[in-house]
């Protein structure tokens, strides 16, 4: 099922390796800073998704989903990105999966954050 793509990784190791490699090139904690930027924005975006869903504000949903797509892409959160993409494209249409997607999105974010935190904890 699209909502449950277990075959897709939670975090794309390729993206994370790219960030680490870039950090190594520059001698800076690129991965950490990208994750920090993600932490600053993603939770608010997911909260905005739920709010907009309950308020029936589909265009606000599409906007939040669009930015979430970008944010999740940066940390390689493949499934979250896919969810956000689906929400963005369906927000303005007439599709009944939205409620479930938003819910899954909320849970998925928590999983991503936990995993990122675990990873950063491990690397420092």
């Amino acid at each position: 099922m699209t909502l449950d793509r277990r075959d897709q990784p939670l975090l794309d190791p390729l993206v994370l390796r790219e960030l680490e490699a870039l950090g190594a090139d520059l001698g800076e904690d690129v991965l950490g800073e990208v994750i920090a930027a993600f932490e600053r924005t993603a939770p608010a975006l997911v909260a905005e998704l739920s709010r907009a869903w309950w308020a029936g504000d589909r265009s606000a949903m599409a906007r939040a989903a669009h930015t979430l797509r970008s944010a999740s892409l940066q940390v390689g959160a493949t499934r979250l990105n896919e969810l956000a993409r689906a929400i963005e494209s369906e927000a303005l249409g007439d599709v009944s999966d939205l409620a479930e997607r938003v819910e899954v999105c909320t849970r998925e974010l928590e999983t991503v954050r936990a995993e990122l935190a675990r990873m950063v904890g491990k690397s420092t």
Binding site: R6, D7, V34, T67
Partner: protein, 729 residues
């Protein structure tokens, strides 16, 4: 000397409303040598352009407030705004955005997710070329420089320039311009019309519109387009300005043309890599997505149907695991080849509909998707599916071994089943899982009922199959504590299934489905083996004598091989039989056939313990207790919950304990959650208890820790071997 200086690339401005994306861009551009500033929206970007004069702007299209297009237009209308290279970032599925970007005056565009390895070079190139253009323009504007030096510089940079005096309609082309548009050798009279005529027919209208607008508005332009040079198509970067002769008031248009075909060709190569699967050479998931959207639009406009077929290789993981990845890869390549052969056009099944076409892609490990465009989708899909199944069935030799393969195919149809690519894929996926559940090596059309009534069950079933394959189950252990000693007697193993992102699936929700589909057999086998192995492990880690309880489903119990399975598991794990307790429910015993009796008898003879689970909730027939050699009886939590307040429950518990004792059974109280429960249960004479009061179900590591702890601290009157005061009692 080259026309493109190797100086520092300069200042880059990153404009994006997503902080994480800005952060990434900042580091990437810094790695390319840029100094980087950021803006979170369009207005801030324009402010930064005014105050900092960046050489390059990386501009996200979709932002709250004024969007990227508008921001781009406004930057261009700033003084010196024409000199900035603006790279627009669009989302990949928004084709119109590319055109809009150029209309708004963008120099170039990139799609998200950004291929940074590529974009870094392009950004450098744009910033440097931007500088070269600026110098060229100044040179052309009548400042002193010799013809020869200019011409050399142009040749090296593949940059040509042209000049057009609008009022006099006089035009001059440099040699490089003549080379780029392909009129190098022939005599040629340069005109504005001739320049437009050289533009690729598909780009001509847009280029003409932009140039006309620039001329009449006395602004500049900056675009990339194609040039038709004989049979060859070239990509050029075309920039220019319009200025007014202060003496005559006549307009002079200055343009530069740079051949960027080579760069484009490299980009195309990289794009190919991004859209194709390197193993099989087939288009990948990304390409399918792109293609499917367009196929559906075409089908809608032309009244065609589309059949989407999800082809999943049966038991692929087995090949990969047992024969190695190289063998798995060979298998996939072979499957890809057979699929290609199955879809060859021009033979009988495709002959009926000459207007049909097919598209094959590999979307995941062992998953392929066939897209069929036809006037009669369902019929063709059925034929193709049958052919694929028969072609895959031919034996296959890998590493000297002959193996048989098969596939399960799910088919969803447009417009009947779904309207969007996503839904179509999902429905085909559901149908595929149904084909798997139906016994594999078959195809299944999607029907609404699959999705509606059976959806939940199907999803769970599909998930269970994957969970088994991916080993996504875990066992948690909940302690049973002896009421008298306070020691743990055994742990009950409880299966847990967690779907990442969706949390735990309650056993009540999936066990039924596992039983209906027979999946309970492999799952039960896994549980038994894991529990025995874990129990053996904690024997070694100091919890010797602490047993394990395993729940057995009625479906398992009816299998004639059940006793044999238990025996071989015990043998393999080296666990002593008396440490294993099998918990049976009353339901399991409803069909108390001769076979079941024989199984229980064999288990008993092996020395395995048997417990009657959830006692009191089912038929509670005392005859079981007489017929079956149970060792223990577990009182259902329902009777424990209100033990303190409901005298009826208390009476029942007293009766159960009395009966159990008369049969010589140990009594275990379930659902002991409070101190009061614990006290009452002890008063009633239960031998052991289980519940949150004594310990939540936890993973093995937690259980081991709890085991160390509980032996001395919890549960009524624990034995305290280290406490000298207790020795005298």
């Amino acid at each position: 000397m080259t026309a493109i200086p190797d100086s520092a690339p300069g200042l880059a401005l990153v404009v994006d409303d997503d902080a994480a994306a800005r952060t990434r861009a900042r580091f990437e551009l810094r790695a390319a040598g840029f100094e980087v500033i950021e803006a979170a929206d369009g207005l801030a970007a324009i402010e930064a352009v005014r105050s900092r004069h960046p050489d390059l702007v990386l501009l996200d299209v979709q932002m709250p407030g004024i969007d990227g297009f508008e921001t781009c237009r406004r930057i261009r209308s700033e003084p010196q705004g024409m000199e900035i290279s603006i790279l627009m970032v669009t989302s990949s599925e928004d084709v119109a955005a590319v055109e809009q970007s150029f209309e708004a005056g963008a120099t170039d565009f990139a799609t998200k997710p950004i291929q940074w390895s590529l974009l870094r070079h392009r950004a450098l190139f744009l910033a440097r070329v931007g500088g070269a253009f600026r110098r060229l323009h100044r040179t052309l504007l009548g400042l002193a420089d010799s013809e020869r030096r200019l011409s050399d510089a142009q040749r090296l940079a593949h940059v040509g320039n042209w000049q057009w005096l609008v009022e006099a309609n006089q035009m001059l082309w440099s040699d490089e311009v003549r080379r780029i548009v392909g009129v190098e050798t022939e005599p040629h009279s340069p005109t504005f019309e001739a320049l437009l005529a050289a533009v690729h027919p598909e780009d001509r209208a847009a280029v003409e519109k932009t140039l006309q607008a620039a001329v009449s508005g006395q602004t500049g332009w900056d675009l990339e387009h194609r040039v038709q040079c004989g049979q060859q198509v070239r990509f050029v970067h075309h920039q220019g300005t319009v200025d007014i002769d202060p003496l005559t008031g006549e307009r002079r248009v200055l343009g530069t043309l740079q051949d960027v075909s080579e760069r484009r060709a490299n980009e195309e190569k990289i794009r190919k890599l991004a859209f194709y699967d390197p193993l099989t050479g087939l288009p990948n998931r990304r390409m399918l997505h792109d293609r499917l959207g367009r196929t559906l639009r075409f089908a809608r406009e032309h009244g065609r149907s589309v059949a989407l077929m999800f082809v999943d290789i049966d038991h692929f993981k087995w090949v990969n695991d047992s024969m190695g990845h190289a063998a798995g890869d060979r298998l996939l390549s072979e499957v890809a080849q057979r699929l290609v052969n199955s879809l060859r056009l021009g033979d009988d099944i495709f002959r009926a509909g000459m207007d049909s076409s097919s598209f094959l892609s590999r979307v995941g490990g062992d998953e392929f998707v066939v897209t069929l465009l036809a006037s009669d989708g369902p019929e063709l899909a059925g034929k193709v599916a049958r052919r694929i199944l028969s072609m895959l069935q031919r034996p296959l030799s890998i590493g000297g071994k002959e193996i048989a393969i098969s596939a399960s195919i799910g088919i969803a149809l447009f417009p009947d089943d779904a309207q969007s690519p996503d839904t179509l894929l999902r429905h085909a996926d559901v149908a595929m899982y149904n084909a798997k559940a139906g016994g594999r090596n078959r195809y299944q059309f999607y029907t609404e009922s699959l999705s509606k009534s059976a959806d939940r069950a199907l999803v769970i079933q599909a998930g269970l199959q994957r969970a088994l394959r991916d080993e996504a189950f875990t066992l948690h252990y909940q302690p049973q504590v002896a009421t008298r000693s306070g020691r743990i007697t055994r742990f009950e193993s409880l299966i847990r299934w967690e779907i990442p992102g969706k949390g735990l699936v309650p056993p009540g929700e999936f066990i039924n489905i596992a039983e209906e589909t027979g999946l309970i057999l492999p799952i039960g086998e896994w549980v038994l083996a894991t529990a025995c192995r874990d129990c053996k492990a904690w024997q070694r880690q100091g919890l010797s004598g602490v047993g394990v309880a395993v729940n057995v489903s009625p479906v398992q119990l009816r299998r004639p091989e059940m006793a044999g399975l238990v025996a071989s598991t015990l043998e393999q794990t080296g666990l002593e039989p008396h440490l294993l307790e099998l918990e049976l429910t009353e339901t399991a015993l409803l069909q108390h056939t001769k076979e079941v009796a024989a199984t229980l008898d064999q288990l008993k003879k092996m020395g395995v313990r048997l417990a009657l689970d959830d006692f009191g909730t089912g038929y509670a027939s005392l005859s079981y207790l007489k017929k079956i050699p149970f060792d223990a009886l577990k009182i259902d939590r329902e009777f424990i919950r209100d033990l303190a307040t409901d005298p009826g429950d208390r009476a029942i518990v007293s009766a159960i304990v009395a009966i159990a004792k008369s049969f010589g059974l140990a009594v275990v109280a379930e659902g002991v959650e409070t101190a009061l429960h614990e006290r009452l249960v002890r008063e009633e004479g239960c031998d052991a208890m289980q519940g949150y009061r004594l310990g939540m179900p936890t993973p093995l590591a937690g259980a081991l820790k709890l085991g160390g702890l509980l032996g001395t601290t919890l549960g009524g009157e624990p034995a305290r071997p280290r406490d000298p005061a207790s020795r005298g009692r």
